[in-house]
Symmetry: C2
Subunit: 185 residues, 2 copies
């Protein structure tokens, strides 16, 4: 029965719709991507609106967000004034872009604030209180520094290399500290 395909589609649409907040986008936006991703042919804005059961206006707005994240491409056929949309299929590339365009700036802002706060605390008049606050802020900054380095690296490194690297690291760790191996349920 062809019905199975329909259900498969519907389920992915729901799945991506649900975890849309993870990417930092609206529910419709996630579902929209799912629809495009599972469509063999590029779709027009009206097609998508129908498939999602929502308004064209909504789709227009959502799709712009996806374009901005590099998750959707726009394609125009000569002699056809409709605009066709199709999904980007390289998820590692998508992740990189989402990370760098959405998460990273936010992270950087926060980082700068912590830095500034630390500077202020260090400049304050010496006291037990001052030393305590400065030390805590120092620890926090150190953490942010490391995290920042990791994120920056993930943005540059090849995902397959990353996978291999981590697997290798895991092997070393397992053989070093076997007590931490996961207990089979």
């Amino acid at each position: 029965m062809e019905d199975a395909l329909v259900r498969a589609r519907a389920e992915l649409v729901e799945a991506l719709g649900q975890q849309s907040s993870f990417w930092g986008v609206g529910k419709v936006t996630g579902a929209l991507f799912a629809v495009l991703y599972l469509s063999a042919e590029p779709m027009t804005l009206g097609d998508i609106a129908d498939a999602l059961g929502t308004s064209k206006g909504n789709v227009s707005t959502s799709i712009r967000a996806l374009e901005h994240l590099g998750m959707v491409r726009r394609r125009v056929h000569p002699g056809d004034r409709r605009v066709y949309f199709e999904a980007e299929t390289d998820f590692w590339e998508i992740s990189r872009r989402v990370l760098s365009r959405r998460q990273k700036p936010e992270f950087d802002r926060s980082f700068a604030l912590v830095d500034q706060s630390l500077g202020r605390a260090r400049a304050a008049a010496p006291s037990d209180e001052q030393r305590f606050v400065a030390e805590r802020l120092g620890s926090l900054k150190a953490f942010y520094d490391e995290l920042d380095g990791i994120v920056a690296l993930v943005l540059v490194i090849d995902p397959r290399r990353l996978g291999r690297l981590l697997r290798a690291a895991a092997r070393v760790r397992r053989s070093t500290r076997p007590s931490l191996r996961r207990v089979p349920q």
Copy 2:
């Protein structure tokens, strides 16, 4: 002037309050943690409410969320019926817990849905359409698989080892493909 310390505190409170949504908690919750983190002594619920300029009820709710994430500990002194709260200071430990208790389950649910969807698509009656959908879902699942492996690893691995590892990987990459080195602004 002692004022600098006060401002340093206020700035961190604001910083963590702002990026609170990153951890998946409310604004007050992030600010609350900042207050506790910069307090030399453990604080009672009333203290915190005063410091934040919010209600005790609000703090009570928020602090429970932080406890559940392992970001705050509760401590009772014998002969004092007040409850004191103090911040967890090991951020790597915190990250691990937040990741495993909040992000991971959500991720797993989504993962299962994709898996199920793929199963359904593969079971559907063969056709061009069916092959296309099955292939796309297969790619998505492969991506999720890799991602899942990475997350699982990060949850187990020692952060310092991770940092060293990534730095090493970056060095290799830089020397291999110097053209990708970042252009100094």
